[in-house]
């Protein structure tokens, strides 16, 4: 019997757990560890954040799903990995800290034969003074709770607009090294829609504040599309949408501090500015969740398994090199941790080899450049790929080659959809193929395949987003036929 422990029950960890249970017989033991009792379809938090969906529509309890699927569920934080066990017992273990009300803080030791780290991001609000909803001066949509709070604050802003007061709304990145620009873009689009629907658009100034050097970068170095027989860039495409919707922007910005009603920031030219606001939704930078690794004798070996960012090192090429020398082949294929063929890191938890967008530094030495996004679709594919590797190694032997799924060979979709009606909603939808551009393979088309790289605006994107919302929640609930729905 093999024991598989999965840290994290988000897009990548939950996908891995369900596929492992499907692919392995009941004689193998699968345990999922997550501090939260609920699963959250994070992309739909955007709709919660403008009040058109409630928290219940984007979350559900994990325990009944795991009970039905015969997967053990431990509600806890993963804390310490002992990949070589202890002096007394060489079995690898992971120590977890309970988050259940009646046993909070209790440590539990879980032995494993295979370990998947799918812990996602730590939301590093502390990186910027005054950032975030917990004791800070801005709102967030990163969790369902945050999104509910954001919707309440937005509703108050709309009330003030209706009362005739002008309002400044700032949406974007709360630090120079944030990722997830697509999510901030989508929230901007939704807020603009809600304010227009409320009939008070003329009284609101909406500003998209970003660490991108130009609009349309999205942390993926921008895109080239083919449209009506012409090549178009994602910069022109985004500027067109911003022009149509009257959205203003601040580019190449690193937010240093958020005071009540005032954002202090530096731009790529090294100048410092202040931006006043009435409502600000600013995303935090991401980091690893702070797992520690210990050797048999208790000595700290965290830096052998984790990058300084806290993300786990996998089979990527981490040799530092200039942007001009970055290659698609630098990106990991198998998500196996070097030296540990039974440990994997998937989704946001793995350490990327470098950014995707061109790195930029202000004259003051401040890095102002998007970190690489690891979106939902690739995270799900990574979870399934690692599940297949573990299945192969359990069934055919530990030396079997790992399955592969590089972000330089996978596509992704980002659909910024607003409105609720079947015929009144709208969306700006982008697909990119592959996520990490391969400038050697596609030198003339921005490193991507034109067949899969598109930017479209219209009702159809809205239908796609609504469909994905329902399909992914159905799949995550492991309802009949769930495995037929692709990641």
């Amino acid at each position: 019997m093999a024991r598989i422990v999965i840290l994290g029950a988000g897009v990548s960890g939950h996908t891995a757990a369900l596929h492992l249970r499907r692919m392995l017989g009941r004689s193998h033991d699968i345990t999922v560890v997550s501090p939260n009792a609920k699963w959250n379809w994070i992309p739909s938090n955007i709709w919660v954040g403008v009040g058109i969906m409630d928290e219940k529509q984007v979350t559900f309890d994990l325990a009944p799903i795991y009970k039905r699927s015969k997967i053990n569920f431990v509600q806890a934080h993963g804390r310490v990995i002992r990949p070589h066990g202890t002096m007394d017992d060489a079995t690898p273990t992971v120590e977890v800290e309970s988050t259940l009300a009646d046993s909070r803080g209790e440590m539990i030791t879980l032995p494993y034969d295979y370990l998947i780290n799918a812990t996602g991001p730590k939301l590093r609000f502390e990186a910027t003074q005054g950032l975030g909803p917990d004791g800070g001066n801005s709102v967030s949509v990163c969790t369902a709770d945050h999104a509910v709070h954001a919707a309440d604050e937005l509703a108050k802003t709309i009330e003030r607009l209706k009362a005739g007061q002008k309002q400044k709304i700032v949406i974007g990145m709360g630090h120079g090294m944030c990722t997830c620009e697509g999510a901030a873009f989508e929230y901007t689009f939704n807020v603009e829609h809600e304010i227009r629907e409320a009939g008070v658009r003329d009284k609101a100034e909406i500003i998209y504040l970003t660490n991108e050097a130009e609009l349309g970068d999205f942390g993926v170095d921008g895109m080239m599309f083919k449209q009506s027989g012409y090549q178009q860039t994602s910069r022109m495409w985004t500027e067109s949408i911003f022009t149509e919707r009257g959205v203003h922007s601040i580019l190449g910005a690193h937010v240093e501090k958020v005071d009540p009603g005032v954002i202090h920031y530096e731009t790529l030219d090294g100048e410092k500015y202040e931006q006043d606001f009435d409502f600000a939704m600013l995303l935090p930078p991401f980091g690893g969740v702070g797992l520690t690794a210990l050797d048999r004798d208790g000595s700290d070996i965290t830096d052998t398994m984790f990058a300084p960012s806290g993300f786990m090192k996998v089979d990527a090429n981490y040799t530092p090199k200039p942007y001009e020398e970055w290659e698609a082949a630098d990106w990991p294929d198998t998500y196996e941790v070097p030296g540990y063929p039974n440990v994997f890191a998937v989704g946001i938890a793995f350490a990327p080899p470098h950014a995707i967008s061109k790195p930029r530094v202000s004259p003051n030495g401040t890095v102002i450049a998007p970190a690489p996004p690891r979106t939902g679709m690739p995270s799900g594919v990574m979870g399934k790929t690692v599940a297949m590797t573990i299945r192969d190694r359990i069934k055919q032997g530990a030396s079997v080659a790992a399955q592969e799924a590089s972000m330089a060979k996978m596509g992704a979709a980002c659909v910024a959809s607003s409105g609720t009606g079947a015929f009144s909603g709208s969306a700006a939808a982008m697909t990119m193929f592959p996520v990490v551009p391969d400038y050697q393979k596609y030198p003339k088309t921005g490193g991507r395949n034109f067949k899969g790289t598109r930017g479209e605006i219209g009702l159809h994107g809205h239908w796609v987003k609504v469909m994905l919302h329902h399909l992914f929640i159905y799949k995550a609930k492991a309802l009949p036929g769930w495995q037929l729905i692709p990641e």
């Binding site: 500003i207 609009l215 178009q232 022109m236 500027e239 067109s240 911003f242 022009t243 149509e244 203003h248 922007s249 601040i250 580019l251 731009t267 090294g270 100048e271 410092k272 500015y273 202040e274 931006q275 004259p363 003051n364 679709m377 594919v381 790929t385 592969e404 799924a405 060979k409 996978m410 596509g411 992704a412 979709a413 015929f423 709208s426 939808a429 697909t431 193929f433 592959p434 391969d438 395949n449 067949k451 899969g452 598109r454 479209e456 605006i457 219209g458 009702l459 159809h460 994107g461 239908w463 796609v464 469909m467 692709p486 990641e487």
Partner: protein
């Protein structure tokens, strides 16, 4: 390289931005053309996800 606070450099216009025509805007909400685009987008996403690779 200065600490002096200046007026926030908010960009309010995008001179290079293509502006959609009335026809394009109407087309974006037309259920028939959008139905076709919906199918094409689903096929595109399925192609990317099922292949998962770009061989």
């Amino acid at each position: 390289m200065t600490e002096i606070q200046k007026k926030s450099p908010v960009i309010t216009e995008y001179p290079d931005a293509p502006v959609p025509t009335k026809w394009t805007k109407a087309n974006r909400q037309n259920p028939i053309t959008q139905g076709y685009k919906f199918i094409m987008m689903c096929i595109n996403i399925m192609m990317m996800v099922i292949k998962g690779h770009d061989h």
